[in-house]
């Protein structure tokens, strides 16, 4: 879909002159590289691209992109991006956020951006910890998590970001992880192409405060056994020999079964375009956390009118019906009288 008029670029063109200042070994580096290397392929212009972020380690992302960008305030990026997106439908807007930014202080903005289906691509770097404030538990930390602020263990049930996004009426919901550039780029490409809000959860390793949080499923040797790739129209199978599969129990729940035992035809075929988000939600609940087989890929991708476009249409309709705005007529719209000299 590359527009021939768009100049050919390389990763270098998309990298700003600012020194990247995440901790050495941080998963954010691989996400940044994946994005910078993907953008030249997307047929978009640097000047039409905007990265908006809130606060947190992930939120430094815009400084490293040679595009327009705003590093705003904690949790508010989806709201700010909404104002930008509805007034500038010509722009390509990305929101970069973290689990604290998006799901704690900014939870309200996230769910409403998703509900409205604003045309933005949201990358949620989930490392299940507060990094920038040096190691407190986050809304995605597992129950019992011992951190500086929970020395006796966290009492809280974590959010499942995929379940949350689906519950918030998101039209595009996907998960990827920082150890697989190819998979990240494939998901980012899909998210970018989606019209409306695209929500991508990225399992991201914080090697300083929560090292190895996802290693049991994303480690090179663990992936085959623990990552369940979702492919539209394909039976949901995984394992080195694709010997495991997802089946629906009679009670409606999904569970993992051996293909050899249940038969190929019993394996659930993934349909990301199902209007009803129920099955996608069930898939999001398949793993209780990143320590047992976990689906990655696109959970849901459905069409729904995009908010900014719908708003623009209302403006056009009004202008067509009433003609362009006439200030003189506006000021007289409440009835007037004249005082003669």
């Amino acid at each position: 879909m590359t527009d021939t008029a768009v100049p050919v670029t390389t990763r270098k063109d998309w990298s700003s002159d600012q020194e990247v200042r995440w901790c050495p070994g941080c998963g954010d580096y691989s996400i940044l590289a994946a994005v910078q290397m993907l953008l030249p392929d997307l047929g978009v212009r640097r000047e039409d691209t905007v990265f908006v972020s809130g606060i947190g380690c992930a939120a430094r992302f815009p400084y490293y992109m040679n595009t327009y960008g705003m590093h705003s305030i904690h949790g508010r990026a989806p709201a700010i991006a909404t104002g930008l997106a509805v007034t500038r439908p010509d722009l390509d807007i990305w929101v970069v956020t973290g689990d604290g930014d998006a799901l704690s202080i900014g939870g309200n903005h996230l769910i409403h951006a998703l509900r409205r289906n604003v045309d933005i691509t949201i990358l949620l770097f989930n490392n299940q910890i507060y990094g920038l404030t040096k190691g407190q538990y986050s809304p995605t930390s597992e129950q019992g998590k011992v951190t500086k602020s929970t020395p006796f263990g966290s009492l809280e049930t974590p959010f499942n970001p995929i379940s949350l996004a689906l519950g918030a009426e998101a039209t595009f919901v996907a998960r990827t992880h920082d150890m697989d550039r190819k998979h990240m780029q494939e998901i980012f490409r899909r998210a970018h192409a989606h019209r409306g809000s695209a929500f991508v959860e990225i399992y991201q390793n914080c090697n300083v405060f929560n090292d190895g949080a996802f290693e049991r499923i994303t480690g090179r040797d663990a992936r085959a056994e623990h990552l369940i790739p979702l492919v539209h129209g394909e039976p949901i199978r995984f394992g080195p020999e694709a010997e495991h599969g997802v089946v629906a129990s009679p009670d409606g729940r999904l569970r993992i079964a051996e293909v050899a035992e249940v038969g190929e035809e019993a394996i659930l075929v993934h349909d990301e375009q199902r209007e009803d988000p129920g099955l996608a939600f069930a898939l999001s609940r398949l793993a209780r956390g990143p320590f047992e087989p976990t689906p990655i890929g696109v959970f849901r991708a459905v069409d729904r009118p995009e908010y900014g476009e719908a708003m623009s249409r209302q403006l056009l309709d009004a202008a067509e019906r009433r003609g362009p705005g006439d200030l003189e007529a506006l000021l007289r719209s409440g009835g007037t009288w004249t005082v003669e000299s």
């Binding site: 212009r45 000047e47 039409d48 400084y63 104002g83 930008l84 903005h109 009433r322 200030l327 506006l330």
Partner: protein, 638 residues
């Protein structure tokens, strides 16, 4: 009925002005009645000023004092400044409305009561031990008892309306009666009823019949000895409309965006009494106005900041607790140095406070309510129609100086209305957004997002989509010029000074503060300094002092930060300065701190605007004059 009401059986008494208060249950339609009476009077050519006063509850229990809704209108044959200190006519639809308002009515005033509403149960609900209509307690008033409910139901029955629904037209009966009593033309009201209720023929018919019945009742029932006539006021020639503060403010924003060639974006969360601006702007999509009813106050301003980054005129509107919630985002806008207009319709606080009552208590919040050194320009409207030009001025400052601007209005201005002489649209000020242009070929130098205009200290407004100006901004401290993140201590201090200097420098673009002093600047012994909606009461109070043959000066501020450049000079020219405010003394603190003058404070925090008499009394006290020894030489009205 005819437009030139002839009343052969009644004599017509000429009045120079009258203050009427309509009062009833919050479901009785008193706001609608008062608004239409005002509109008809304005169309007739009177000067008008209004004071709606309603409870925060949508429908408090019927018949209780808590549920009383009132609308006061002042109509006159000369220019007036306030809705009147005290009504001389009270229309009371039930005992609670009478009880809640009787204390305000002038001695010997007229009471027009819906006698049908005075049953035992309603009297009890209002807390009356005996019926005031029969126990002699209203002997000092002229009381007209009119069976409004039953007469309305009678005509409703003719229209074929169910009795329950017919009763609801009784406010139109009251409107008809008062329109007759004050010789108002009926056509404009009939026309308005026709438009307003066009969707429901039955309701339209019932309301029309009730209005006519009320009018005819005055004419035929031998209850009233006379009708009254308030002749048109000699207003400045021109075309007028009646406008509330919130409508004028919304129109001012549209006008400013139109003149600047900027798309208008409003991000707002519903909150009393600011919501009407959201409602009004939502109607005008054909002007390219985009409105977003945000998920909360923070999202409202956040979205406006996003829109501003994209090159739109970003606006957010709020009141009370909403301005607290926006504080962090205003700080971001200070750091980003993007144009943004934050409208605060002040109401009683703290916390939820008095949502429907007026107050001026957010000035210091606007000034200082953010962490860090975070200067924000502040402008304040003084009358309902002044909200129009104040909105345009806020936009001028925001766009020219690339800064958030706080516009202060309040509940009194928001809902109050006055006749407004329409400005010449072509002559309205136009501000140039002056977006940063794309660099030309060979411009080797990297774009400097925080390079400043030497005169205004404003930074470039470089909007996404412009090739070659890609840049990142944010809430972290910026390096002077490059805008890169900088933790350098000396740079931080320089930036703090630059932001402060930029805002202070706006003063250079402001007109000097105008002083109303009959003997020339500095001649009166007392200067009354006001800001915002105290304008009418102060100007009227000053008129009263002058009618006593005494001198007093009045200056009124639109610009609260920075102050007009000559303010210090003006204040120091007077031996005494009085600062009336609907708060505990906020402007007075600022001027005392800024100019080291011994300004005195006059405060009122009752959720109600000042009365002219209160200002008058305070000035007399400051002058050391006994009110009894200097009776006014002429009757002056406010």
């Amino acid at each position: 009925m005819s437009t030139t009401a002839e009343h052969p059986r009644h004599q017509t008494v000429e009045l120079d002005r009258v203050v009427i208060r309509f009062a009833g249950d919050s479901g009785d339609g008193m706001q609608l009645t008062g608004t239409q009476f005002t509109a008809a009077s304005s169309l007739f050519g009177n000067d008008t000023a209004t004071l709606p006063d309603f409870p925060a509850e949508i429908r408090a229990p019927a018949g209780t004092l808590a549920g009383v809704s009132a609308f006061q209108v002042h109509i006159s044959d000369h220019d007036i400044l306030t809705p009147g200190d005290a009504p001389s006519v009270l229309v009371a639809m039930n005992p609670a409305a009478l009880k809640a308002n009787i204390g305000a009515v002038t001695a010997g005033g007229i009471l027009i009561v819906n006698v049908d509403g005075f049953d035992d149960r309603s009297l009890e609900k209002a807390g009356y031990a005996s019926n005031p209509l029969t126990d002699g307690s209203l002997a000092s008033y002229t009381v007209y008892e009119v069976p409004m409910t039953s007469l309305t139901m009678e005509v409703g029955k003719e229209a074929g309306v169910k009795p329950r629904d017919a009763e609801r037209s009784k406010n139109f009966f009251a409107l008809g009666l008062v329109s007759w009593l004050y010789s108002r033309p009926v056509e404009p009201t009939l026309e308005w009823i026709g438009k307003r209720f066009a969707a429901d023929a039955l309701v339209l018919d019932a309301n029309t019949r009730a209005f006519r019945a009320g009018y005819n009742f005055g004419e035929t029932a031998e209850l009233f000895e006379s009708t009254y006539q308030v002749r048109p006021a000699p207003l400045e020639p021109g075309t007028y409309t009646n406008v509330t503060g919130n409508t004028a403010l919304a129109w001012g924003l549209i006008a400013a965006s139109h003149r600047a060639g900027l798309g208008l974006f409003l991000g707002s969360y519903p909150i009393t009494p600011a919501s009407d601006i959201l409602h009004e702007l939502s109607k005008h999509k054909h002007f390219g106005v985009r409105t977003l009813q945000a998920e909360d106050e923070i999202a409202g301003i956040g979205a406006a900041i996003g829109a501003a980054f994209g090159g739109s005129l970003g606006v957010t509107t709020t009141s009370g607790p909403g301005i607290d919630l926006k504080a962090e985002s205003i700080g971001l806008a200070v750091s980003l140095e993007l144009p943004l207009v934050v409208v605060d319709i002040q109401r009683g606080g703290p916390s939820t406070g008095l949502p429907t009552k007026t107050e001026q208590s957010d000035l210091l919040h606007a000034m200082y309510g953010r962490h860090g050194e975070s200067p924000v320009p502040i402008v304040a409207a003084r009358t309902p129609s002044h909200c129009f030009e104040t909105a345009m001025e806020a936009v001028r400052i925001a766009v020219t100086y690339r800064t958030p601007v706080i516009l202060l209005s309040d509940g009194y201005l928001a809902n109050g209305s006055e006749p407004w002489r329409l400005p010449d649209v072509a002559g309205l000020p136009a501000v140039d957004p002056a977006f940063a242009p794309a660099p030309g070929e060979g411009d080797g130098r990297a774009f400097q997002p925080y390079e400043r205009d030497p005169e205004t200290l404003a930074r470039p407004w470089a909007v996404p989509g412009t090739p070659g100006l890609e840049h990142r901004i944010g809430g972290l401290e910026k390096a002077d010029g490059s805008g890169d993140v900088s933790y350098d201590p000396v740079n931080h201090e320089r930036m703090v000074h630059l932001r402060a200097k930029k805002v202070a420098g706006i003063a250079a673009s402001l007109p000097p503060v105008d002083v109303d002093d009959e003997g020339g600047p500095g001649s009166a012994p007392v200067l009354v300094l006001g800001w915002g909606s105290t304008y009418g009461a102060i100007a009227a109070g000053v008129r009263r002092i002058r009618a006593r043959g005494l001198a007093v000066a009045h200056a009124h501020l639109t610009h609260l930060n920075p102050f007009p450049p000559n303010l210090g000079e003006v204040l120091r020219a007077y031996p005494a300065v009085l600062v009336p405010e609907a708060n505990l003394g906020q402007l007075v603190r600022l001027v005392r701190a800024e100019f080291l003058v011994d300004a005195r404070s006059l405060t009122k925090v009752q959720g109600q605007p000042f009365r002219a008499a209160e200002i008058e009394a305070a000035i007399l006290e400051l002058l050391g004059v006994d009110p009894a020894t200097t009776a006014p030489k002429e009757d002056v009205s406010s």
